[in-house]
């Protein structure tokens, strides 16, 4: 709790935290939605925002607000699946490369850097155009996780590299700690904060990728996500028809979501960085 109170002192964290809380509340509201998100024509079409339909209705006869709650929930689920599994790959790669070092390190980092610089979008499009439509959102999350780990593996590796040279490593090894024990007991406390701050960035990347793939019609368009809601609005020419509430709702929500996630991640990584931490303490003292 102490950490949380410290973080809340940072204006960036406060703003990000409030926005993300509001978005999470929206996502939770989907559980009490009066509508089934996959069904069409459950409400009158093309109504502008009113008291009965807070954000209006769309040309498919769906309530935009309740559709949005499902979209946020599904997008966040995809992001969490992608971020969780890519973290596992990143931790394993980073730990092994950083701890073993030498030739294995050079080989793994070569692969890692290849994933880092490859243009992922055409490759993801190639994959999803083959399984077009059949892609469930769990599957999409898994595919994204296979491609989203390289940067964070690099960060974790460099942390492990520096830990390996510290005295406590030798003390532990000389007193008979096994490698696995050393890694899990002694190194993990240092690695976990990094994993957490990269997790947020990765979630944001996954949501962005999902939106991009959905716009290209490469995901299952029946499941509402931020991407598919936007895709329907665009394919129905919502802008030309003047249905601004339909198009603007996913755009504004995703901008808010991205900005708040980014603020959180910047604030957390500043908190973890010892250099800025010293600065902050000075400011508080003054």
């Amino acid at each position: 709790m102490g950490i949380f109170r410290d973080l809340l002192r940072d204006g960036k964290f406060r703003v990000g935290f409030i926005i993300i809380c509001l978005i999470l509340i929206l996502a939770l509201l989907s559980f009490v939605s009066p509508y089934d998100p996959t069904r069409w024509n459950v409400a009158p079409r093309d109504l502008p925002p009113s008291l009965q339909h807070i954000l209006g209705t769309n040309s498919q006869g769906q309530d935009v607000f309740w559709q949005l709650t499902f979209a946020i929930r599904n997008s966040l689920t995809i992001a969490i699946i992608a971020a969780f599994f890519s973290r596992i790959i990143a931790i394993i790669m980073g730990l092994v490369a950083g701890y073993r070092g030498g030739r294995l390190d050079r080989f793994l980092m070569g692969i890692n850097d290849s994933f880092l610089v490859l243009p992922l979008l055409p490759i993801l499009i190639l994959i999803s155009s083959l399984i077009k439509g059949r892609l469930s959102f769990v599957g999409l999350g898994l595919i994204l996780s296979v491609f989203g780990w390289s940067w964070d593996a690099r960060v974790i590796r460099s942390q492990i590299l520096s830990l390996r040279e510290r005295d406590f490593t030798y003390t532990a090894l000389l007193s008979g700690t096994s490698t696995i024990q050393l890694v899990f007991k002694e190194y993990f406390p240092f690695v976990i904060p990094i994993v957490f701050s990269t997790l947020i960035n990765n979630m944001s990347w996954a949501i962005g990728m999902e939106i991009t793939l959905a716009i290209l019609g490469l995901t299952n368009l029946e499941i509402p996500t931020l991407g598919t809601v936007l895709q329907w609005a665009i394919s129905y020419q919502a802008m030309l028809l003047g249905l601004w509430w339909w198009l603007l709702t996913p755009v504004v929500t995703s901008v808010l979501l991205f900005v708040s996630l980014y603020l959180l991640s910047v604030s957390i990584s500043e908190y973890l960085d010892p250099r800025t931490r010293i600065q902050r303490i000075r400011v508080i003292k003054e």
Binding site: P122, I125, G208
Partner: protein
């Protein structure tokens, strides 16, 4: 020295291409879908009547085209052989035209958009980021940083869409899409170049604003660390003018890691360019890719994926090879 610098980079270059091409090779084989069957379905859906014999013959040709003959290793070797010859087969969505020609036609548009926006936003972002990092206690510097902080996390697609809505639908200052006016013959007249620029303006701006925001932030971070170093304190104590410290000492030093950062983020920027092109229907590789997806043109998608892997990794190799020109420490080692 040349050897120590050059050889690891060449190895990395070949490794990137190897990993990328291997992914492109294995992906169709790991998915439950048979691309050959899908291709034939696409052709029959277009309304062409095919008699069974022709279908059988086509299946054979397609299998050969996708390299589905022989065992996996033979297929893999054959795949490489075709790639190195630049043979991706015919495109489906404009039938007998070979994929490589379609890509060649749209490549200049993408190349223009990508290089202009990348270099301009890299320079502007570095200068702005350097200034913001150097004068970090000024109010305007904080305002600029906050603006960059809000813009940076927005994905290319959303940002391009917002730009399009505001400047083309609402304000009607710029055309809704395309690369040049319909029916105009390319020439070197001033009017044509002006039109070209007018059509390219929004895609360029939307990519540049995002690029500047990212570069500005990373640059600010590097500069705020350099500012605390001894040589800056010494220069200040020695009475060197602030402007000279900022531009000659601090920003020049900070730009070096930014060259590497540019190389590392090139893949992402390229993906962003494809998406931005799609939003503005700019006639480059992005729009070509979009058409390929819409028509299920697997050959074309595969061709674009492979060409972009080759293109991006070559671009990064070029940056790496030019790096010693900027950094005397590498040059004289």
């Amino acid at each position: 020295m040349l050897k120590r610098y050059l050889i690891p980079r060449l190895i990395q270059y070949l490794l990137v291409i190897f990993v990328g091409v291997t992914i492109v090779f294995f992906v169709p084989r790991l998915t439950p879908v048979d691309p050959v069957q899908q291709m034939i379905n696409t052709i029959t859906r277009m309304g062409t009547y095919l008699d069974p014999k022709a279908v059988e013959k086509m299946t054979e040709t397609l299998k050969e085209l996708y390299g589905l003959k022989g065992n996996l290793f033979e297929q893999y070797l054959a795949f490489w052989g075709r790639l190195l010859k630049g043979d991706f087969g015919p495109s489906l969505f404009r039938f007998p035209i070979p994929v490589i020609k379609l890509i060649g036609d749209s490549l200049p548009w993408t190349l223009g958009l990508l290089t202009i926006s990348t270099f301009l936003s890299w320079f502007i972002g570095n200068i702005l980021g350097g200034i913001v990092g150097f004068y970090y206690d000024k109010r305007w510097a904080r305002v600029m940083e906050s603006i960059a902080m809000v813009i940076r996390p927005i994905p290319y697609y959303i940002f391009a869409l917002i730009t399009l809505i505001v400047f083309s639908y609402l304000l009607k200052w710029f055309p809704l899409g395309g690369g040049m006016p319909v029916g105009v013959v390319p020439s070197f007249s001033i009017k044509f170049i002006f039109e070209l620029f007018r059509y390219a303006f929004l895609p360029l701006i939307s990519m540049m604003v995002l690029g500047i925001a990212v570069t500005l932030q990373t640059m600010r971070l590097i500069v705020s660390n350099i500012v605390k170093e001894d040589f800056v304190t010494y220069a200040r104590a020695g009475g060197v003018k602030k402007k000279i410290i900022a531009f000659k000492y601090v920003i020049r030093n900070a730009m070096l890691p930014q060259v590497t950062n540019l190389a590392l983020s090139m893949g992402q920027i390229f993906s962003g360019a494809l998406i931005t092109e799609i939003v503005f229907s700019y006639p480059g590789m992005g729009t070509l890719l979009y058409n390929a997806i819409a028509t299920g043109d697997f050959n074309l998608i595969m061709g674009i994926a492979t060409i972009s892997i080759f293109g991006i990794s070559t671009f990064i190799l070029l940056i790496d090879l030019l790096y010693p020109l900027f950094d005397p420490r590498v040059r004289y080692r």
